[in-house]
Amino acid sequence: MDDLERAVEAALFAAEEPMSARALADFLGGPAIEQVNHTLDLLAENYRNRGIHLVERARRWHFETAPDLAHLLRREKEQVRRLSRAATEVLAIIAYHEPVSRAEIESIRGVQTSGGTLDVLMEAGWVKIAGRREVPGRPTIYATTPEFLDHFGLASRRDLPGIAELRATGLLDPVDDAYDELMRDDADEETHRGTQDVDKETDDA
Protein backbone atom coordinates (compact mmCIF):
# COMPACT_ATOMS: atom_id res chain seq x y z
CA MET A 1 0.00 0.00 0.00
CA ASP A 2 1.69 3.22 -1.06
CA ASP A 3 1.82 6.50 0.82
CA LEU A 4 -0.79 8.22 -1.28
CA GLU A 5 -3.17 5.36 -0.79
CA ARG A 6 -2.70 5.51 2.97
CA ALA A 7 -3.08 9.28 3.00
CA VAL A 8 -6.27 9.21 0.91
CA GLU A 9 -7.66 6.45 3.09
CA ALA A 10 -6.95 8.38 6.29
CA ALA A 11 -8.19 11.69 4.91
CA LEU A 12 -11.51 10.25 3.77
CA PHE A 13 -11.86 8.42 7.06
CA ALA A 14 -11.37 11.56 9.11
CA ALA A 15 -13.33 13.86 6.80
CA GLU A 16 -16.69 15.07 7.99
CA GLU A 17 -18.03 15.45 4.47
CA PRO A 18 -17.54 13.44 1.30
CA MET A 19 -14.57 14.77 -0.68
CA SER A 20 -13.97 15.11 -4.38
CA ALA A 21 -10.71 13.97 -5.93
CA ARG A 22 -9.92 17.63 -6.42
CA ALA A 23 -10.50 18.44 -2.76
CA LEU A 24 -8.38 15.47 -1.74
CA ALA A 25 -5.52 16.52 -3.99
CA ASP A 26 -5.66 20.02 -2.49
CA PHE A 27 -5.91 18.72 1.03
CA LEU A 28 -2.94 16.41 0.64
CA GLY A 29 -1.05 19.26 -0.94
CA GLY A 30 0.61 17.87 -3.96
CA PRO A 31 -0.52 14.82 -5.86
CA ALA A 32 -1.86 15.18 -9.37
CA ILE A 33 -5.56 14.67 -9.64
CA GLU A 34 -5.06 11.69 -11.96
CA GLN A 35 -3.01 10.02 -9.27
CA VAL A 36 -5.67 10.69 -6.70
CA ASN A 37 -8.35 9.28 -9.01
CA HIS A 38 -6.28 6.19 -9.63
CA THR A 39 -5.71 5.76 -5.90
CA LEU A 40 -9.42 6.13 -5.17
CA ASP A 41 -10.16 3.36 -7.68
CA LEU A 42 -7.55 1.12 -6.10
CA LEU A 43 -8.90 1.75 -2.62
CA ALA A 44 -12.50 1.19 -3.68
CA GLU A 45 -11.47 -2.11 -5.20
CA ASN A 46 -9.57 -2.97 -2.04
CA TYR A 47 -12.64 -2.40 0.12
CA ARG A 48 -15.08 -4.09 -2.27
CA ASN A 49 -15.57 -7.20 -0.19
CA ARG A 50 -15.09 -5.70 3.22
CA GLY A 51 -17.49 -4.45 5.86
CA ILE A 52 -16.77 -0.91 4.73
CA HIS A 53 -17.04 0.36 1.19
CA LEU A 54 -15.47 3.37 -0.44
CA VAL A 55 -18.13 4.85 -2.66
CA GLU A 56 -18.43 7.76 -5.06
CA ARG A 57 -21.60 9.78 -5.05
CA ALA A 58 -22.00 12.86 -7.19
CA ARG A 59 -18.22 12.84 -7.82
CA ARG A 60 -17.45 12.95 -4.13
CA TRP A 61 -16.03 10.04 -2.18
CA HIS A 62 -16.74 8.72 1.24
CA PHE A 63 -16.60 5.56 3.29
CA GLU A 64 -19.77 3.89 4.34
CA THR A 65 -20.66 0.56 5.81
CA ALA A 66 -21.50 -2.22 3.37
CA PRO A 67 -25.17 -2.05 2.42
CA ASP A 68 -25.71 -5.75 3.12
CA LEU A 69 -24.75 -5.13 6.76
CA ALA A 70 -27.38 -2.45 7.28
CA HIS A 71 -29.53 -4.90 9.18
CA LEU A 72 -26.69 -5.41 11.65
CA LEU A 73 -26.10 -1.72 12.21
CA ARG A 74 -29.71 -0.81 12.76
CA ARG A 75 -30.57 -3.59 15.04
CA GLU A 76 -34.05 -4.07 16.18
CA LYS A 77 -34.30 -5.17 19.72
CA GLU A 78 -37.54 -7.01 19.96
CA GLN A 79 -39.41 -6.80 23.15
CA VAL A 80 -42.45 -8.99 23.71
CA ARG A 81 -45.22 -7.19 25.55
CA ARG A 82 -48.74 -8.14 26.37
CA LEU A 83 -51.42 -5.85 25.09
CA SER A 84 -52.88 -3.74 27.87
CA ARG A 85 -56.43 -4.28 29.03
CA ALA A 86 -57.54 -0.99 27.50
CA ALA A 87 -55.92 -1.76 24.16
CA THR A 88 -57.45 -5.24 24.11
CA GLU A 89 -60.89 -3.75 24.67
CA VAL A 90 -60.45 -1.23 21.89
CA LEU A 91 -59.22 -3.96 19.59
CA ALA A 92 -62.21 -6.12 20.43
CA ILE A 93 -64.61 -3.26 19.77
CA ILE A 94 -63.00 -2.55 16.43
CA ALA A 95 -63.16 -6.23 15.54
CA TYR A 96 -66.85 -6.53 16.43
CA HIS A 97 -68.01 -3.22 15.04
CA GLU A 98 -65.64 -2.31 12.24
CA PRO A 99 -65.35 0.09 10.62
CA VAL A 100 -65.70 2.29 13.61
CA SER A 101 -64.67 5.78 14.56
CA ARG A 102 -62.93 6.76 17.73
CA ALA A 103 -66.05 8.45 19.05
CA GLU A 104 -67.97 5.25 18.45
CA ILE A 105 -65.33 3.21 20.21
CA GLU A 106 -65.56 5.53 23.16
CA SER A 107 -69.31 5.37 23.30
CA ILE A 108 -69.20 1.58 23.24
CA ARG A 109 -66.47 1.39 25.84
CA GLY A 110 -68.04 4.10 27.94
CA VAL A 111 -64.51 5.39 28.57
CA GLN A 112 -62.33 7.87 26.75
CA THR A 113 -59.73 6.20 24.60
CA SER A 114 -56.26 7.73 24.46
CA GLY A 115 -54.76 8.20 21.04
CA GLY A 116 -51.81 6.11 22.18
CA THR A 117 -54.00 3.05 22.40
CA LEU A 118 -54.92 3.20 18.74
CA ASP A 119 -51.28 3.88 17.89
CA VAL A 120 -50.24 0.73 19.71
CA LEU A 121 -52.81 -1.31 17.80
CA MET A 122 -51.66 0.14 14.52
CA GLU A 123 -48.01 -0.42 15.46
CA ALA A 124 -48.87 -4.01 16.23
CA GLY A 125 -50.29 -4.17 12.71
CA TRP A 126 -53.73 -5.31 13.81
CA VAL A 127 -55.67 -2.15 13.12
CA LYS A 128 -55.59 0.17 10.14
CA ILE A 129 -57.28 3.39 9.17
CA ALA A 130 -60.10 2.41 6.87
CA GLY A 131 -60.98 5.85 5.59
CA ARG A 132 -63.35 8.49 6.87
CA ARG A 133 -66.98 8.38 7.74
CA GLU A 134 -69.00 10.68 5.46
CA VAL A 135 -70.68 12.55 8.25
CA PRO A 136 -70.00 16.05 9.57
CA GLY A 137 -66.42 16.23 10.81
CA ARG A 138 -65.50 13.26 8.59
CA PRO A 139 -64.05 11.20 11.44
CA THR A 140 -61.37 8.63 10.74
CA ILE A 141 -62.66 5.11 10.91
CA TYR A 142 -60.71 2.05 11.91
CA ALA A 143 -60.82 -1.59 10.93
CA THR A 144 -58.81 -4.73 11.60
CA THR A 145 -56.19 -6.09 9.24
CA PRO A 146 -55.55 -9.58 7.86
CA GLU A 147 -52.65 -9.77 10.34
CA PHE A 148 -55.19 -9.40 13.08
CA LEU A 149 -57.14 -12.47 11.93
CA ASP A 150 -53.85 -14.27 11.53
CA HIS A 151 -52.55 -13.51 14.98
CA PHE A 152 -55.80 -14.40 16.69
CA GLY A 153 -56.28 -17.59 14.72
CA LEU A 154 -59.50 -16.45 13.10
CA ALA A 155 -60.40 -17.48 9.56
CA SER A 156 -62.67 -14.44 9.28
CA ARG A 157 -64.44 -11.95 11.46
CA ARG A 158 -67.46 -14.22 11.38
CA ASP A 159 -65.50 -16.54 13.65
CA LEU A 160 -65.83 -14.06 16.48
CA PRO A 161 -68.39 -15.43 18.89
CA GLY A 162 -71.72 -13.59 18.90
CA ILE A 163 -73.34 -12.05 21.92
CA ALA A 164 -75.54 -15.08 22.52
CA GLU A 165 -72.46 -17.30 22.59
CA LEU A 166 -70.68 -14.88 24.83
CA ARG A 167 -73.53 -15.12 27.27
CA ALA A 168 -73.62 -18.87 26.98
CA THR A 169 -69.92 -19.08 27.79
CA GLY A 170 -70.47 -16.89 30.79
CA LEU A 171 -68.53 -14.02 29.30
CA LEU A 172 -71.46 -11.74 29.91
CA ASP A 173 -71.96 -13.05 33.41
CA PRO A 174 -71.99 -9.69 35.06
CA VAL A 175 -75.31 -8.93 33.30
CA ASP A 176 -76.87 -12.17 34.50
CA ASP A 177 -75.72 -11.46 38.00
CA ALA A 178 -77.37 -8.08 37.82
CA TYR A 179 -80.54 -9.69 36.58
CA ASP A 180 -80.70 -12.21 39.39
CA GLU A 181 -80.07 -9.48 41.84
CA LEU A 182 -82.93 -7.50 40.45
CA MET A 183 -85.32 -10.43 40.62
CA ARG A 184 -84.49 -11.23 44.16
CA ASP A 185 -85.22 -7.67 45.24
CA ASP A 186 -88.51 -7.81 43.41
CA ALA A 187 -89.64 -10.98 45.05
CA ASP A 188 -88.74 -9.67 48.48
CA GLU A 189 -90.72 -6.55 47.94
CA GLU A 190 -93.78 -8.51 46.94
CA THR A 191 -93.70 -10.93 49.81
CA HIS A 192 -93.25 -8.38 52.50
CA ARG A 193 -95.32 -5.47 51.39
CA GLY A 194 -97.81 -7.00 49.06
CA THR A 195 -98.08 -3.86 46.99
CA GLN A 196 -100.08 -3.78 43.85
CA ASP A 197 -97.75 -4.35 40.98
CA VAL A 198 -98.23 -2.72 37.70
CA ASP A 199 -97.55 -5.20 35.00
CA LYS A 200 -94.53 -4.38 33.01
CA GLU A 201 -93.86 -5.47 29.50
CA THR A 202 -90.70 -7.46 29.35
CA ASP A 203 -88.59 -7.25 26.27
CA ASP A 204 -85.72 -9.39 25.37
CA ALA A 205 -83.31 -6.94 23.94
Binding site: R74, T88, A92, D186
Partner: protein
Protein backbone atom coordinates in the same frame (compact mmCIF):
# COMPACT_ATOMS: atom_id res chain seq x y z
CA UNK B 1 8.05 16.56 60.43
CA UNK B 2 9.43 20.03 60.82
CA UNK B 3 11.32 20.14 57.57
CA UNK B 4 8.34 18.98 55.62
CA UNK B 5 6.20 21.68 57.03
CA UNK B 6 8.85 24.25 56.35
CA UNK B 7 9.44 23.07 52.87
CA UNK B 8 6.12 22.15 51.55
CA UNK B 9 3.25 23.20 53.69
CA UNK B 10 3.23 26.89 52.90
CA UNK B 11 3.51 26.54 49.22
CA UNK B 12 2.32 28.80 46.54
CA UNK B 13 -0.96 28.50 44.86
CA UNK B 14 0.18 27.80 41.39
CA UNK B 15 -0.37 30.10 38.47
CA UNK B 16 -2.35 28.37 35.77
CA UNK B 17 -0.12 29.25 32.91
CA UNK B 18 -0.06 27.67 29.52
CA UNK B 19 2.60 25.12 29.17
CA UNK B 20 3.21 22.65 26.44
CA UNK B 21 6.81 21.77 26.33
CA UNK B 22 8.85 19.39 28.40
CA UNK B 23 9.98 20.31 31.85
CA UNK B 24 11.93 23.53 31.87
CA UNK B 25 15.03 22.96 29.87
CA UNK B 26 18.25 24.06 31.49
CA UNK B 27 20.01 26.83 29.69
CA UNK B 28 23.37 25.90 28.32
CA UNK B 29 25.17 28.45 30.42
CA UNK B 30 24.58 27.89 34.12
CA UNK B 31 25.54 31.48 34.76
CA UNK B 32 22.62 32.82 32.81
CA UNK B 33 20.19 34.24 35.24
CA UNK B 34 16.72 32.82 35.05
CA UNK B 35 14.11 35.43 35.39
CA UNK B 36 11.23 33.31 34.32
CA UNK B 37 9.66 33.32 37.71
CA UNK B 38 6.30 32.76 36.08
CA UNK B 39 7.53 29.42 34.90
CA UNK B 40 8.01 28.14 38.42
CA UNK B 41 5.36 27.24 40.76
CA UNK B 42 7.30 26.89 43.94
CA UNK B 43 10.66 26.41 45.55
CA UNK B 44 10.78 22.73 44.71
CA UNK B 45 10.30 23.60 41.08
CA UNK B 46 13.14 26.03 41.13
CA UNK B 47 15.38 23.60 42.96
CA UNK B 48 14.58 20.88 40.47
CA UNK B 49 15.37 23.17 37.62
CA UNK B 50 18.65 24.21 39.16
CA UNK B 51 19.52 20.59 39.77
CA UNK B 52 18.76 19.75 36.16
CA UNK B 53 21.07 22.51 35.02
CA UNK B 54 23.90 20.67 36.69
CA UNK B 55 23.21 18.05 34.02
CA UNK B 56 23.72 15.25 36.47
CA UNK B 57 21.58 12.49 37.73
CA UNK B 58 19.36 13.74 40.50
CA UNK B 59 20.77 11.00 42.71
CA UNK B 60 24.26 12.42 42.22
CA UNK B 61 23.62 16.08 42.81
CA UNK B 62 25.22 17.83 45.66
CA UNK B 63 22.56 19.29 47.85
CA UNK B 64 25.14 21.74 49.14
CA UNK B 65 25.91 23.18 45.75
CA UNK B 66 22.23 23.18 44.91
CA UNK B 67 21.53 25.15 48.04
CA UNK B 68 24.27 27.63 47.14
CA UNK B 69 22.86 28.12 43.68
CA UNK B 70 19.40 28.62 45.04
CA UNK B 71 20.55 31.18 47.56
CA UNK B 72 22.59 32.95 44.93
CA UNK B 73 19.61 33.01 42.71
CA UNK B 74 17.35 34.47 45.35
CA UNK B 75 19.99 37.09 46.13
CA UNK B 76 20.31 38.10 42.52
CA UNK B 77 16.61 38.34 42.06
CA UNK B 78 16.39 40.45 45.15
CA UNK B 79 19.13 42.64 43.83
CA UNK B 80 17.00 43.16 40.74
CA UNK B 81 14.22 44.24 43.11
CA UNK B 82 11.85 41.72 41.70
CA UNK B 83 8.91 40.84 43.76
CA UNK B 84 9.61 37.52 45.25
CA UNK B 85 7.00 35.26 46.71
CA UNK B 86 7.37 34.55 50.39
CA UNK B 87 7.72 30.86 49.70
CA UNK B 88 10.95 31.35 47.88
CA UNK B 89 12.26 33.20 50.87
CA UNK B 90 11.00 30.62 53.34
CA UNK B 91 12.75 28.01 51.29
CA UNK B 92 15.86 30.16 51.17
CA UNK B 93 15.84 30.48 54.93
CA UNK B 94 15.39 26.77 55.38
CA UNK B 95 18.16 26.01 52.91
CA UNK B 96 20.47 28.44 54.69
CA UNK B 97 19.81 26.53 57.89
CA UNK B 98 20.41 23.24 56.10
CA UNK B 99 23.66 24.54 54.59
CA UNK B 100 25.03 25.68 57.92
CA UNK B 101 23.95 22.43 59.56
CA UNK B 102 25.79 20.45 56.92
CA UNK B 103 28.91 22.50 57.43
CA UNK B 104 28.89 22.17 61.20
CA UNK B 105 30.35 19.16 63.02
CA UNK B 106 27.95 16.26 63.17
CA UNK B 107 27.75 15.82 66.91
CA UNK B 108 26.19 19.24 67.39
CA UNK B 109 23.18 18.41 65.28
CA UNK B 110 19.67 17.87 66.43
CA UNK B 111 17.59 15.08 65.08
CA UNK B 112 16.75 14.81 62.20
CA UNK B 113 20.22 15.12 60.85
CA UNK B 114 21.01 17.50 58.02
CA UNK B 115 21.98 14.44 55.99
CA UNK B 116 18.55 13.02 56.39
CA UNK B 117 16.95 16.31 55.38
CA UNK B 118 19.26 16.59 52.39
CA UNK B 119 18.57 13.04 51.30
CA UNK B 120 14.85 13.50 51.60
CA UNK B 121 15.04 16.69 49.59
CA UNK B 122 16.97 14.81 46.97
CA UNK B 123 14.41 11.99 46.92
CA UNK B 124 11.67 14.51 46.58
CA UNK B 125 13.33 16.19 43.65
CA UNK B 126 13.81 12.83 42.00
CA UNK B 127 10.13 12.08 42.30
CA UNK B 128 9.05 15.41 40.97
CA UNK B 129 11.55 15.08 38.15
CA UNK B 130 10.23 11.63 37.30
CA UNK B 131 6.66 12.91 37.11
CA UNK B 132 7.72 15.87 35.00
CA UNK B 133 9.33 13.54 32.51
CA UNK B 134 6.38 11.20 32.62
CA UNK B 135 3.98 14.06 31.95
CA UNK B 136 6.01 15.14 28.95
CA UNK B 137 6.04 11.61 27.60
CA UNK B 138 2.33 11.15 28.12
CA UNK B 139 1.66 14.45 26.35
CA UNK B 140 3.95 13.31 23.57
CA UNK B 141 1.82 10.26 22.88
CA UNK B 142 -0.48 9.94 19.93
CA UNK B 143 -3.25 12.18 21.06
CA UNK B 144 -6.63 11.98 19.46
CA UNK B 145 -7.34 15.16 17.58
CA UNK B 146 -3.66 16.06 17.32
CA UNK B 147 -1.83 12.99 16.06
CA UNK B 148 -4.55 10.55 15.26
CA UNK B 149 -8.06 11.28 14.12
CA UNK B 150 -11.33 9.53 14.58
CA UNK B 151 -13.93 8.90 11.95
CA UNK B 152 -15.21 12.28 10.79
CA UNK B 153 -18.86 11.45 10.65
CA UNK B 154 -19.69 8.03 11.97
CA UNK B 155 -23.08 6.71 11.01
CA UNK B 156 -23.68 5.62 14.56
CA UNK B 157 -25.16 2.38 15.71
CA UNK B 158 -28.86 2.48 16.05
CA UNK B 159 -30.81 0.20 18.21
CA UNK B 160 -34.44 0.39 17.34
CA UNK B 161 -36.58 -0.87 20.10
CA UNK B 162 -39.47 -2.67 18.57
CA UNK B 163 -42.30 -4.05 20.56
CA UNK B 164 -43.78 -7.33 19.61
CA UNK B 165 -47.30 -7.11 20.96
CA UNK B 166 -48.95 -10.24 22.22
CA UNK B 167 -52.57 -10.98 22.79
CA UNK B 168 -54.76 -13.99 22.19
CA UNK B 169 -58.25 -14.78 21.07
CA UNK B 170 -59.56 -15.51 24.52
CA UNK B 171 -58.29 -12.21 25.88
CA UNK B 172 -59.87 -10.44 22.94
CA UNK B 173 -63.30 -11.99 23.35
CA UNK B 174 -63.16 -11.65 27.07
CA UNK B 175 -62.39 -7.98 26.63
CA UNK B 176 -65.43 -7.57 24.43
CA UNK B 177 -67.56 -9.38 26.97
CA UNK B 178 -66.18 -7.05 29.60
CA UNK B 179 -67.06 -3.97 27.59
CA UNK B 180 -70.54 -5.27 26.90
CA UNK B 181 -71.05 -6.23 30.47
CA UNK B 182 -69.90 -2.86 31.68
CA UNK B 183 -71.79 -0.68 29.28
CA UNK B 184 -74.85 -2.60 28.10
CA UNK B 185 -77.92 -0.40 28.75
CA UNK B 186 -79.57 -1.57 31.94
CA UNK B 187 -82.33 -3.94 30.94
CA UNK B 188 -84.97 -4.40 33.56
CA UNK B 189 -86.35 -7.86 33.25
CA UNK B 190 -89.61 -8.60 34.98
CA UNK B 191 -90.77 -12.14 35.33
CA UNK B 192 -93.93 -13.07 33.51
CA UNK B 193 -96.71 -13.29 35.98
CA UNK B 194 -100.33 -14.53 35.72
CA UNK B 195 -102.42 -11.57 34.66
CA UNK B 196 -105.91 -10.98 33.46
CA UNK B 197 -105.77 -8.47 30.65
CA UNK B 198 -108.31 -5.72 30.31
CA UNK B 199 -109.68 -7.39 27.18
CA UNK B 200 -110.32 -10.69 28.90
CA UNK B 201 -111.83 -8.90 31.91
CA UNK B 202 -114.21 -6.95 29.68
CA UNK B 203 -115.31 -10.12 27.99
CA UNK B 204 -115.67 -11.98 31.24
CA UNK B 205 -117.65 -9.27 33.01
CA UNK B 206 -119.97 -8.74 29.99
CA UNK B 207 -120.65 -12.43 29.69
CA UNK B 208 -121.39 -12.94 33.34
CA UNK B 209 -123.69 -9.92 33.52
CA UNK B 210 -125.49 -11.13 30.42
CA UNK B 211 -127.00 -14.10 32.23
CA UNK B 212 -128.58 -12.18 35.15
CA UNK B 213 -130.26 -8.92 36.04
CA UNK B 214 -129.27 -9.11 39.68
CA UNK B 215 -126.70 -6.89 41.33
CA UNK B 216 -123.43 -8.74 41.55
CA UNK B 217 -120.49 -7.88 43.79
CA UNK B 218 -117.31 -7.33 41.76
CA UNK B 219 -115.50 -10.20 43.51
CA UNK B 220 -118.00 -12.60 42.06
CA UNK B 221 -116.50 -11.97 38.64
CA UNK B 222 -113.08 -13.17 39.69
CA UNK B 223 -111.89 -16.68 38.81
CA UNK B 224 -112.93 -18.89 41.70
CA UNK B 225 -109.74 -20.81 42.32
CA UNK B 226 -107.19 -18.36 41.04
CA UNK B 227 -103.98 -17.95 42.91
CA UNK B 228 -103.73 -14.67 44.85
CA UNK B 229 -101.61 -12.86 42.31
CA UNK B 230 -103.92 -13.70 39.43
CA UNK B 231 -106.83 -12.69 41.63
CA UNK B 232 -105.27 -9.39 42.28
CA UNK B 233 -104.69 -8.83 38.57
CA UNK B 234 -108.22 -9.99 37.77
CA UNK B 235 -109.66 -7.59 40.35
CA UNK B 236 -107.83 -4.68 38.84
CA UNK B 237 -108.78 -5.62 35.29
CA UNK B 238 -112.38 -6.31 36.24
CA UNK B 239 -112.63 -2.94 37.99
CA UNK B 240 -111.33 -1.14 34.91
CA UNK B 241 -113.67 -3.28 32.76
CA UNK B 242 -116.61 -2.28 34.97
CA UNK B 243 -115.77 1.39 34.54
CA UNK B 244 -115.42 0.93 30.81
CA UNK B 245 -118.75 -0.92 30.56
CA UNK B 246 -120.40 1.80 32.66
CA UNK B 247 -119.01 4.46 30.34
CA UNK B 248 -120.47 2.55 27.41
CA UNK B 249 -123.79 2.49 29.22
CA UNK B 250 -123.95 -1.25 29.47
CA UNK B 251 -123.56 -1.49 33.24
CA UNK B 252 -124.77 0.28 36.34
CA UNK B 253 -122.41 0.65 39.29
CA UNK B 254 -123.29 1.12 42.87
CA UNK B 255 -121.27 1.57 45.98
CA UNK B 256 -122.80 2.53 49.26
CA UNK B 257 -119.81 3.94 51.01
CA UNK B 258 -116.10 4.56 50.48
CA UNK B 259 -114.24 1.25 50.10
CA UNK B 260 -117.63 -0.45 50.36
CA UNK B 261 -118.58 -3.34 48.21
CA UNK B 262 -118.88 -2.51 44.48
CA UNK B 263 -122.07 -3.82 42.88
CA UNK B 264 -122.67 -4.27 39.15
CA UNK B 265 -125.89 -4.83 37.31
CA UNK B 266 -126.68 -5.09 33.61
CA UNK B 267 -128.33 -1.97 32.47
CA UNK B 268 -131.57 -2.58 30.69
CA UNK B 269 -132.08 -0.66 27.55
CA UNK B 270 -134.45 2.26 28.12
CA UNK B 271 -133.71 5.09 25.78
Amino acid sequence: MIEDRLLFADTLVEPDEEWNGVAAEGAADPNTLYLELDGWEGPLDLLLDLARRQKVDLREISILSLVEQYLDYIEQVEALKLELAADYLVMAAWLTFLKSAMLLPKEEQDDPSPEELALKLQLRLQRLGAMRDAAARVMGGNRIGRDVFLRGSPEGLEIERKTNWRCDQFALIEAYGRVKARTAPAIHMVRERPVMTLESALERVSNMLGVTLQWMEIREFLPAHAEPRLRKSALASSFVAALELARLGKVELQQDDTFGSLQLRRRTAHG
